[in-house]
């Protein structure tokens, strides 16, 4: 069966209060999100030729470090073009977040 869209809701499936960048810095980190949620779902979407839709609504907010580690990390692992082809993010709670995430994806390989 070919999936059109793989869904990932951060607030419902991961945490309402996203944490820091690395696991060592605290719980619900960007690193943990990448490893346990984002990467597996992205691979699922990639393999079935679908789009991974990440819904960022419902949390209290996101730190720069969390977003960069998760989405920048995804682009460092799979490449910017691949991520652009299979990823879609929405956040009606904070409209500027989408632009920021795409900036982190496109600048993923720059030294921070």
């Amino acid at each position: 069966m070919i999936l059109q869209r793989v869904e990932l809701n951060v607030a419902k499936e991961f945490a309402r209060i996203p944490g820091p960048r690395k696991r060592a810095e605290g719980e619900f980190s960007g690193e943990e999100f990448l490893e346990t949620q984002l990467r597996p779902r992205f691979i699922e979407a990639q393999q079935s030729g679908a789009t991974l839709h990440v819904n960022l609504d419902g949390t209290v907010g996101y730190g720069t470090s969390f977003l960069e580690e998760a989405f920048g990390g995804l682009a460092r692992e799979f490449g910017v073009r691949e991520v652009e082809q299979h990823l879609e993010v929405t956040c009606t709670d904070e409209p500027y977040l989408q632009d920021q995430i795409w900036k982190y994806i496109r600048n993923a390989n720059k030294i921070r």
């Binding site: 944490g19 820091p20 605290g26 949390t59 907010g61 996101y62 730190g63 470090s65 904070e94 500027y96």
Partner: protein, 189 residues
Amino acid sequence: VRWTFCVLLLLVGVLVGFILGLIVPGLRAVSWTPTLTLGDALHALAILLVGVVIDYVYASQTSSKQSDTKLLLDLVTDARTALHALEETSAVCKSGKKLAQEERADLLSAERDLSNAVHSIEEGLGHCSVKLHKLDFEKLKDARVKLKESLTDNPFPGPYDPLSLRTIRDGFTLMRNELTRMAFAINRR
């Protein structure tokens, strides 16, 4: 104010004409017999009508622009309030300790409020058909991103060292200055 100015202008015109009539001897010799034809009356009516239309258009445009400016400045004030709230919330960063989960949540939430307040200004400018590049709106957005990064990039969730605290302070100053600049730019557009 506009009508007072027009009446004043008329009075000054009459006064200047009267004085010129007294001073310049040649003018006293000129005789003038007033006549009024239907053509003259229609001509005067047409000029009056054009004047009224121009005044109406000018008045409606000015009034609409003034209301827009007031609404936009209110949005800037909202952003200033959100910035102030974020500054108060971020005071916990000075504790020298790692932020507790509740403090982290408050900080992220306050930062989101500021982000959305800036977004509202952008939306408002769009509704008023203001070209964003004319106001250098990107500079305000960049200042907001820099402030967010200073608060929630490394070393979030703390402890924040003196250098990080200085970056945060600079971020707030830049954001405050940008909001002030935006208020003046909106007022002078």
